[in-house]
């Protein structure tokens, strides 16, 4: 028997496998394909203070071993989440973690306060790294004093587990990791998408309506692994690693680099049951390699 449970702040995940915000809807979109209750956690779509329409079409471009998106936080706002979505998903056996997004500190705080009231929301993930909105979003994630300020403010408003999601579009990821740790984060997740562009040479136009978008998928895995490894050596709080995880081997690489848990994003689009395969693969790896506790993989990279 392999112990798969991992601890993120005050929260115990029954296993390290979770699904990334914006890539897994609210979980029920996947219920035809897998048992979503087997996941350690589900990070639901970025949620803002009020309704957002997101960006105009087209919002997606395929790139070599990756994709760009510029969804732009389309969601119906936190009140709609609470009244319409929360009742449906609150009894999942996986932790429901809401990805909190905003344009202003006030908005982040407002959303976090409201979510703090919900019994079955044990944690939030503060998205200070969305590259696809004009205001806020990535600004908080690429300017250290802003990252500190928004984390501090939300920390006061949210009493449960606070995960801060970092942007990879920075010179020194460890600086941001340490900053939000100091500001009260219980955990950090990384990476969000890398800022990129796709161009259609025939039309001589950008593929995305917003010109730039966020790059995800296997292409970014080496950068994500590097950042997880750098952050692991900079902070004490647990790290949730993501970026290009397609299979169990990738997930194990993130854990070796220092991730206590992992999230799967883009891969869900290609194989909607991939997260279960990753879970089973991690368990198999531990068994075959004599690890009785998945936690023994965390940061076990021999350098």
């Amino acid at each position: 028997m392999v112990n798969l449970a991992v601890q993120i702040g005050d929260l115990k995940f029954k296993n390290p496998v979770s699904t990334a915000s914006g890539c897994f809807g609210y979980g029920y979109e996947y219920s035809d394909f897998m048992d979503v209750n087997r996941l350690g956690a589900i990070f639901v779509k970025g949620t803002t203070g009020s309704n957002r329409d997101g960006n105009p079409y087209p919002r997606m471009a395929e790139t070599p071993a990756g994709m760009l998106n510029s969804v732009g936080l389309q969601n119906k706002g936190v009140d709609h989440f609470i009244s319409e979505i929360y009742p449906i998903i609150k009894d999942y056996d996986s932790h429901i973690i809401v990805n909190v997004s905003g344009s202003t500190i006030e908005e982040y705080v407002e959303v976090s306060e409201k979510l703090n009231e919900l019994d079955k929301i044990p944690a939030i993930e503060l998205n200070i790294s969305c590259p696809n909105v004009k205001e806020g979003g990535m600004v908080f994630g690429t300017h250290c004093p802003s990252a500190i300020e928004v984390t501090r403010s939300v920390r006061k408003a949210f009493t449960k587990t606070l995960i801060v999601k970092l942007s990879p579009n920075v010179t020194s990821i460890h600086e941001f990791a340490m900053a939000v740790e100091g500001a009260g984060a219980d955990s950090i997740s990384l990476i969000n998408t890398l800022l990129g562009i796709a161009i259609n040479s025939k039309t001589r136009k950008p593929v995305l309506s917003t010109v730039t978008g966020g790059l995800s998928g296997p292409a970014i895995k080496p950068v994500a692994l590097r950042m997880v490894w750098q952050a692991y050596h900079a902070v004490k709080i647990p790290i949730i690693g993501l970026g290009g995880i397609m299979n169990a081997t990738d997930a194990i690489e993130f854990m070796l680099a220092g991730a206590r848990a992992i999230q799967i994003g883009t891969a869900n689009f290609i194989d909607p049951a991939v997260s279960i395969k990753v879970l089973e693969g991690i368990e198999g790896y531990c068994r075959e390699n004599g690890f009785s506790d998945v936690n023994d993989l965390v940061g076990a990279l021999e350098t």
Binding site: E29, F33, D53, A61, N69, T266, N268, F269
Partner: protein
Amino acid sequence: MKKRVQDFTIIDNRQVNTEYYVLELQSDIALADLKAGQFAELRVDGTSEVLLRRPISFYDVDYKKQTISLLIQEVGKGTRQLAKAKPGDKLNMIYPLGNSFSFDGIKKALLIGGGVGVAPLLLLGKILKYNDIEPTFLLGFRNKDYLVDILSFEKYGNVLLTTDDGSIGEKGTVLDHSMVESGLSGFDKIYTCGPQVMMKAVAKLAEEKGIDCEASLENTMACGFGACLCCVQQTIHGNLRVCVEGPVFDTNEIIW
């Protein structure tokens, strides 16, 4: 209908014209029920250039033989790779996806398709016919070298053709066809699928004539089953997902 991820076996791959081909796929198990207008997300194997699945409409289905046909136009990396499929190869699909055309209380329908957009109209015509609704197909192509297998359509209804150069059927776009000019009387519904400019024009025509109209839209999709919000269409109800709330929309609700 529950969505599935399933392997199919290619049993036929026939070239229809210089750019189009029809893949016929067989299932080992009973097919999921398909509706006209729905689509599948195809995994493209064997190339380094494709990461995401590709959405393709159902062209035809045979529940007894457990086969599905897809009409595909070679436009880029994925469809080029799929064109190489040989009988015996496997093809993995997520299906059935999306909503479908509605036809409650309809008697006589006009199905207007352009190019590879005719694909979902074949299955729609077939289903309409089975429901005692009379379909008329009005199909437009670039020229006679881009035609599809018209006989398949004629099984279910009258087929009118246009080509840009008049090499077969009437010359011009579907909108230029004489029957459009003669008034469209008798039709109580128009369905359309094809290039966006065509669908937009058809929608306008339908509005002018006071006929209900549904269009099957395209969009760039990452997931195809509602999870990513990449594929939205602006509508009077806000940005809706073409893969879940669509691909079929009442044209009155679309903000083009």
